[in-house]
Symmetry: C2
Subunit: 361 residues, 2 copies
């Protein structure tokens, strides 16, 4: 299996993952953790999934605080494959910087941008979709992968499908990107069969991305290209870049302008947003009855209980008579909640910061 000519994998590796506290910490966030018990972090799994297509053509964009950890985990990559942002400036700046560098490095490049902290069940199915999308992106479309919804989630944005693209069977134009809807609206979307989840996965030629950005944010595109031309100016130019997501800066207006296409996809995707998501992923991976254990099962004594137990302190964890429990045991902090309340874990992180115990977050 040969790699895909000119295909570059761009991995923005950011996000704190506070709803996965205490597994995810600000010093060691979600993407650096092995959350699925495979022995590989989510970042490493993202790399492994893309390597058959990209070979060694990777650009990872991360915060300075995490650069050493990222290069340590991805030790096959060249040192200049990991870019350190001077400060967090949201996804447009991170992905735009990669685009500006690639534009100069490889005129035939097609870049694919994929978050470092998502889980994908069917890696080969994912790569099939990327291959299809790259072919479309070479024709100067901004291409996104549109995930088949498995339930009417109110936690994700949606992609509204347009007509099929001539010459690309199964690939559709995008009428619009829709912000996270209510559950009721989401159910209507799903019922039509014309909506897909927006997983933030984009395939695009770097020049196309930067030119689209320049259409609505001329200064922004110009600064990114200036940094790429003179990397020494990174410190000078970076702090003034707007904090904006790629979706808002480019994808939404480009869809309105008829420049976006989507590859409808069904490869088992999850953004592992909280412990409820994680439990679903691990159960789908074939856990037996009782509570699902992420870690050493001999450390868990469950009596008539279901849910997710993460024994990461070496201590015995006994759970008696709880349904859909979430118990996450780490050396310095313990979380006990339920799958239904798992989203509220971020309230704990907030409370800890406010009470002067940021060392635990």
């Amino acid at each position: 299996m040969s790699t895909l000519d000119g295909f570059w994998a761009v991995i923005p590796a950011g996000g704190a993952g506070t709803r996965l506290w205490p597994l995810s910490r600000s010093a060691s966030p979600k993407f650096l953790r092995d959350l699925t018990g495979t022995g590989r972090s989510l970042l490493q799994q993202t790399h492994d999934r893309l390597a058959p297509l990209a070979g060694d053509r990777f650009l990872v964009v991360t915060g300075r605080a995490h650069r050493a950890a990222v290069t340590g985990q991805l030790d096959r990559l060249a040192d200049d494959a990991v870019l350190a942002e001077p400060s967090a400036r949201d996804s447009m700046a991170a992905i735009g910087l990669a685009a500006a560098l690639l534009e100069r490095r490889d005129p035939d490049a097609v870049m694919g941008s994929f978050a470092a902290d998502h889980v994908i069940t069917d890696a080969e199915g994912f790569r099939e979709c990327v291959r299809a999308g790259v072919a479309v992106a070479r024709e100067d479309w901004l291409v996104t992968l549109g995930i088949e919804p498995t339930f009417p989630s109110s936690a994700f944005g949606y992609i509204h499908l347009g007509d099929e693209l001539p010459g690309h069977p199964g690939v559709h134009g995008v009428r619009e990107f829709v912000e996270k809807p209510s559950s009721g609206v989401a159910a209507e979307y799903v019922a039509t069969g014309r909506y897909r989840w927006n997983a933030g996965m984009f395939l695009v030629r770097p020049t196309v991305l930067l030119d689209l950005l320049g259409t609505w944010h001329a200064d922004f595109a110009e600064r990114l290209r200036a940094i790429a031309a003179e990397p020494a100016r990174l410190e000078e130019l970076w702090p003034d870049l707007p904090r904006i997501a790629l979706d808002h800066a480019v994808a939404e207006p480009a869809a309105a302008a008829g420049r976006v296409a989507t590859v409808p996809s069904d490869f088992g995707w999850d953004d592992v947003g909280d412990f409820d998501s994680l439990a679903t992923i691990l159960e789908a991976a074939g856990a037996a009855g009782g509570a699902t254990v992420l870690g050493d099962p001999s450390l868990v004594e469950g009596v008539d209980s279901t849910g997710l137990v993460v024994p990461r302190s070496g201590r015995l964890v006994a759970v008696v008579g709880l349904d859909d429990a979430v118990v996450v045991d780490t050396p310095d902090a313990l979380l006990v909640t339920t799958r239904a309340r798992a989203q509220e874990v971020k309230a704990v992180v907030e409370a800890l910061k406010q009470s002067g115990r940021a060392d635990l977050t």
Copy 2:
């Protein structure tokens, strides 16, 4: 306040308290633990509650494995105030041995026997009842304190009241002791107003107790008196003593023979049978809203949760969105359950023993 002439406090200190695992361990059972956050163990609290009546007239009967811990906790007592049983032989042997020793030591003795691991809210009310009971016991009754039921518990035995005793207003004869009833039967008992909880608290002259025992178990009484006469024979005679509770050996037949009286009592009693009991005790002691914390409140971050949290490992414990949760965090083991399921904790202890991890029990 002077002590009560000739009153000896006998404290059988046994029982594993497995339903309070992982706070209570076989090597450090319930009675040696500070379960109420007062800084004193249940054993020490039992001593403190009785000292105003008994002065230094105490006999504590415990297992050999715990003798050193008991003398360490009760360091004001004379060394011979703590008796070590060669092996566990249930309450009749333990309390009977104390009776046999006291019979020789103090012909005017009235002994009161009180378990080392119960909680009493109103210590002065308790002592009032003991004073009243001792006066009756001097007239050769076997006297028990009959606890006013606060709900129709199926976890306790009941005392069925008979007629008031002439000359002792408020003190009643006992018609019978009833084994733990079903909840339905317990509700009928409570509705009559003629039943009290049997807390296993007995006041009696040592000779009366041994003579009553001798009526139904002649050999048993004889062996106990032989040990008291020649303490060197303890090892020889002890192993063959019957394993039987005082209630069955003496109290039940004595009630049938019209020899038992009870002092109806209402001093706030609990045997701290499980974490549900413990939560009730601590809440009654005035916990604020949210989860009740036994330990350092700064170690607990509760979000919209109720129940009991015991942070004993120094780690932060976060509980999110759980009602009536029980979270007990110790350095080598963690328990998560609910108040309603707290009785099933003993299943964990059994499972650990069977899987070769008795070191954690």
